[in-house]
Symmetry: C2
């Protein structure tokens, strides 16, 4: 499979270069920028950097920018092996000022980058703009037989959206600071600018409070961030031009608060930290003064740690059960003319607002917080979708989109890429559209841990980052994937493990480094979607304590096979008789699926955790056989025997059923192939 | 290549099982224990653990042991995917007492482990002994079609040597705490018990002193361990039954001390931190009272952080240049009748001893510290070899061996494995032999960084760990390698990257995930030895600031190909006509070397850092071709044409020359093959 695809990768790269429109004789610049810049003009010639690159400054600059430039040069050096001695190329950096003391949504992130054979010049209004330009520079570097070089280009770039975020749920599974920091590195590489840190939920309170030590003391399993660590993360993010927006989910999703402080809840308790998943009943009591006194102190303490203008209060999935069962709360609702849980939650938010304001914070929360009485400077994060967001915008509320960007749903990068926070043809006025500030990818953590998180976030999030940065017109999915695989390698070089972990996990599962027999199968499998996994997990007693050690955990969502195979089949099907290259590639691949079966079965049957997916090996053999036959029929124009097609399509249908939480990536194109057989 | 070796791996595992001596019908227990225990008796039957394992305690036990047991169960759970619910097997742990408050060289590490179909029982005198037994338990787990199980065994185990260490030089290249901790995890997995932390050298002072802040403030590049971090490492190591012996190298290798405190040196200064390698001149001034006052305060401060009974004072490679050039020191030597630098260094050590004693520390240092006047409770670490160590033992000095265990020399695991701290047939009396306490693997850090360190230490260090733990009679190299590859996978599961990093680096070098074409070549290359790399590095201006981004840095030393290929060839050569399986494996391998050339050249020429090794691709093709021909001649008994053998041997000789700091692993067996051709 992988060997079969190698040729494709090479030819795709070449056609990518052609697609630049520049004559090949003049330049071989291969555009692998991700996200694509707003404007790029290819000039003529190149700037050789095999000796290295040195930075010159035409104005004063601060430590933050100097560190960012050093980091960019260090990566260039590692990539190129340049000695950084002798006749180095020069990069002149010119920045008007440092930008905001606390980065906000209006920070100017634009930059211009010009490369000529004489040198490179980066200009930006702020440090953050310059950082974005430095990432572009690192991605521009090209190798060939003559060494490393930068193409002559002129780039004017600025983001389409101001809020380009990633949320990580660190409650259901804790992620060490090192994981957070490497994730921030990758975010910066694709020009994202908001890290939304989901710090509390039913399954664990992850942020140290010195005023309320039982929040983590009893509301976590000992895994939480100290205040010092949180400050370190904030500083680390600032060094990358990334804001940190903390989330403390309230009034629901609050079991972990109530374990140590049961007086916050609307039921008597005692409470224990959740190990299961789903929506819990525990909800703060919005009728008690003491609740607000607690939150005032807590938010004040957190405000000193998190300088961002926004604090996320969650607000989602309040089932209202505890409120219904509490006569005192029911009486309160009656007295205050609050007709349902939504109204009481709106009351809670109203009380929360002055507390946030007092501590210099604006409110952001999920769709549920949006009620008519709230002031216009709150912000909504929409898990419901564009319509919900647009409804808010029409009332004057700003918002960001997360529906369509849920990484735990195991959708493809292409699916995420097609989701636009302001789709063409929306009925919003330009002023309303401006209220949609961007979006956030969401990494909920029911089924991830520090080993698997990278492959769940990356590289798919790079496609979302491009959607949020690049012009709306950048929509070519083929070109996105071509660049996505390059970006994924760059992200691994930053120290992430989304590629390596697959192989490491397969070796661990196989119990040997010699697991090549497993690769053709693993390459065409991916995890089932979130709902399927949830359903299975509930019926198998899976909790936060269960290991992520199955084949499904090794497999990355949306592996290269999904798009590459579809592309290969559709090209072949344009005219099967006249595509010998695609025909050969398909035959090689199908043969590897069939012929590998004996070795594969031997490997899988010796490993109990692989054995549960044994059926997949048998199916792969069948799919390979029918593929070989189908290509044979199509190439020769010979018709299949009666009943052949129906029989094979039935096998494909059977293979579409989940086995060991995995699904095939290749079934739809395979069906297309079968359907074309006469 | 790898595919060809797969069959071997399978058959080796089977013959390994046979080698246990137990009839295959009764049990299929595959012994992958590393290190091998002192005594192991295989019983009959098995203990199924597919549901999980639960621990029972028959006595009180402390938090440390409970954490160790939890950690062992967690690893078992991840490995097996056991639900840890329902009918779990039971492990009864029985420990007489916690052991020493500060683990010393006399800590009792013995344990007995008994597994029957009814349950497992672990008994030890101390927590540390029980930890060693838990590691054995984790390694005993077996998979088959029926799930996971422990074989019925009875193990009585204790270490042959009391000091089984690993030294890491954190001065020349700094290693973050996370790297140190994962290394400690791996050390514990193979029952090592001393982490020797080389914290200062010419290239950087890595330990925070609050009394002398300029040690790191000016003597490092900002990368150093805070006192809090060092205490964390000490506590982490104690949790694994590992002692931490800090080293502060003196009087030489002391440039980094003198940068902030030039008054310590024997020349006027000023000094700067070294970026080059080799032996520097900067040496402390042993004639000044102020030197000892400084060291008294410093050692007192460090003694509060490092509780171990020993403190390592280095003492190596003092070239005496500064002393020779300082008239005041020369006069001092004359006045005190100190005839040379060695005598002055002995004087320095004599003055250092009471300072160490005052702070509760015993002295350990390299061979050079051993001078007749020192008391018998100092200890020598020998980089010179067994003879030096034996000479010390005959005078009553205890010592540990490091000659033969230098990981930066890029020797094979087999070479390290054959080095015995007390070889059979030595002329030491039993009492003298007892003074040789063990040994230490040494990871000097000229050419490593946090990304590459794992593959330089592991898995080879596991072979050294076995040499130091297991009975002297455990010397079968084939069996060691069979278990080493399994242990390497287990170590990766702890979070180390010695296998993954090779692939990740190859992908980065190739600039694509599709780098299969590179694998047959990479599999038969390894880094050149230390001297060759040093020579090249000096002539190419390599410093501590240079990246480790070349093919040589991706390649692990002593890859499986070295031993596997030699084994395959020697089996084949026993009688070429009657080994069709080996013949086929050789032919497959040789063909992959030759046939892969076009794709390989395409891949390498597009990457400047791979292109420097292009000659290796051409050579691999030639080696494959001659191998195919040789196997043909040998299998058929046909003689080669005149001149054929000489021509091919000349090509092998040419291939033995270093290219891009790499060398082939397969040349000696290939020569053997050629030499057998008529």
């Amino acid at each position: 499979m992988r060997i079969g695809l190698l040729m494709m990768a090479v030819s795709m790269t070449m056609s990518g270069a052609m697609a630049q429109g520049a004559p090949a004789a003049e330049t071989e610049f291969v555009n692998t920028l991700m996200p694509q810049p707003a404007e790029l003009t290819v000039g003529s010639g190149r700037l050789a950097i095999s000796q290295g690159l040195t930075v010159t400054w035409d104005k004063t600059h601060d430590d933050r920018l100097e560190a960012a430039a050093t980091w960019a040069l260090q990566r260039l050096r590692t990539q190129t092996g340049a000695p950084m001695q002798g006749q180095m190329a020069a990069l002149a950096i010119s920045v008007d000022g440092p930008g905001e003391a606390v980065q906000g949504i209006d920070e100017d992130e634009s930059y211009t980058l010009t490369v000529t054979p004489q040198g490179a010049h980066l200009h930006a209004a702020t440090d953050v703009g310059a950082m974005r330009g430095l990432e572009t520079l690192v991605q521009l570097v090209q190798p060939d037989e003559q060494g490393w070089w930068l193409p002559a280009v002129s780039i004017q770039d600025s983001p389409r959206f101001r809020w380009r975020g990633l949320m990580i749920d660190c409650s259901r599974h804790f992620e060490p600071v090192g994981v957070i920091e490497r994730t921030l590195d990758a975010m910066a590489a694709v020009k994202m600018n908001v890290f939304h840190w989901h710090l509390s939920d039913d399954q664990g309170f992850r942020m140290e409070s010195k005023i309320f030590p039982r929040l983590t003391g009893e509301g976590s399993d000992g895994m939480y961030y100290t205040q010092e660590e949180a400050k370190e993360v904030v500083a680390y993010a600032r060094g990358l031009g990334i804001r940190v927006v903390p989330e403390f989910d309230m009034p629901a999703h609050s079991t972990s608060w109530a374990v140590g402080y049961p007086e916050l809840a609307s039921a008597p308790g005692p409470f224990t930290v959740g190990h299961d998943f789903g929506v819990f009943d525990v909800t703060m009591d919005p009728t008690k003064k003491s609740t607000y006194e607690f939150l005032d102190k807590f938010i004040g303490e957190m405000a000193a740690i998190f300088p961002d203008a926004y604090m996320h209060i969650g607000g989602d999935e309040n089932n209202g059960n505890e409120w219904k069962q509490n006569p005192q709360i029911q009486a309160f609702m009656h007295d205050h003319n609050l007709k349902d849980a939504a109204a009481l939650q709106a009351y809670f938010n109203q009380k929360l607002l002055p507390i946030l304001s007092k501590h210099g914070k604006k409110m952001i929360g999920w769709d549920e917080i949006l009620t008519p009485d709230l002031p216009k400077d709150i912000m909504v994060q929409s898990w419901r979708g564009f319509d919900s967001l647009a409804a808010g915008a029409k009332q004057g509320y700003s918002g960001i989109l997360s529906a369509g960007y849920y990484l735990d749903h195991m959708d493809s990068a292409a699916e995420h890429y097609r989701v636009d926070p302001v789709p063409a043809g929306s009925d919003l006025t330009p002023d309303q559209a401006k209220l949609i500030l961007g979006g956030e990818a969401c990494m909920w953590s029911e089924y991830i841990d520090p080993q698997t998180i990278d492959s769940r976030i990356w590289p798919r999030t790079a496609a979302i980052a491009e959607r949020l940065w690049s012009p709306r017109s950048v929509t070519n999915v083929d070109d996105m994937y071509r660049r996505l695989w390059v970006e994924s390698l760059r992200i691994e070089e930053l120290g992430l493990t989304q590629i390596s972990q697959e192989y490491a996990s397969l070796r661990a599962l196989a119990g040997t480094e010699q697991m090549d027999a497993l690769r053709p199968l693993a390459a065409v499998l991916e995890p089932v979607d979130f709902d399927s996994r949830s359903e299975w997990s509930e019926s198998h007693g899976i909790t936060t304590l269960s290991p992520h050690d199955r084949l499904v955990d090794a497999l990355p969502p949306d592996p290269p096979s999904r798009h590459d195979f579809a592309d290969l089949v559709s090209t072949f099907l344009q005219d099967p008789a006249s595509h010998p290259e695609q025909q050969a590639a398909l035959m090689t691949m199908f043969r590897s699926w069939s012929e590998g079966e004996p070795e594969l079965l031997q490997l899988m049957s010796g490993s109990p955790l692989l054995a549960e997916a044994l059926e997949r090996a048998l199916q792969l053999n069948e799919l390979g056989t029918m593929g070989t036959e189908a290509v044979g029929f199509l190439s020769s124009g010979v018709a299949a025997p009666p009943g052949w097609k129906a029989q094979k399509l039935a096998i494909v249908d059977a293979a579409a059923q989940p086995v060991a939480l995995t699904r095939f990536t290749v079934l739809k194109p395979l069906r297309d192939l079968l359907n074309e057989v006469k």
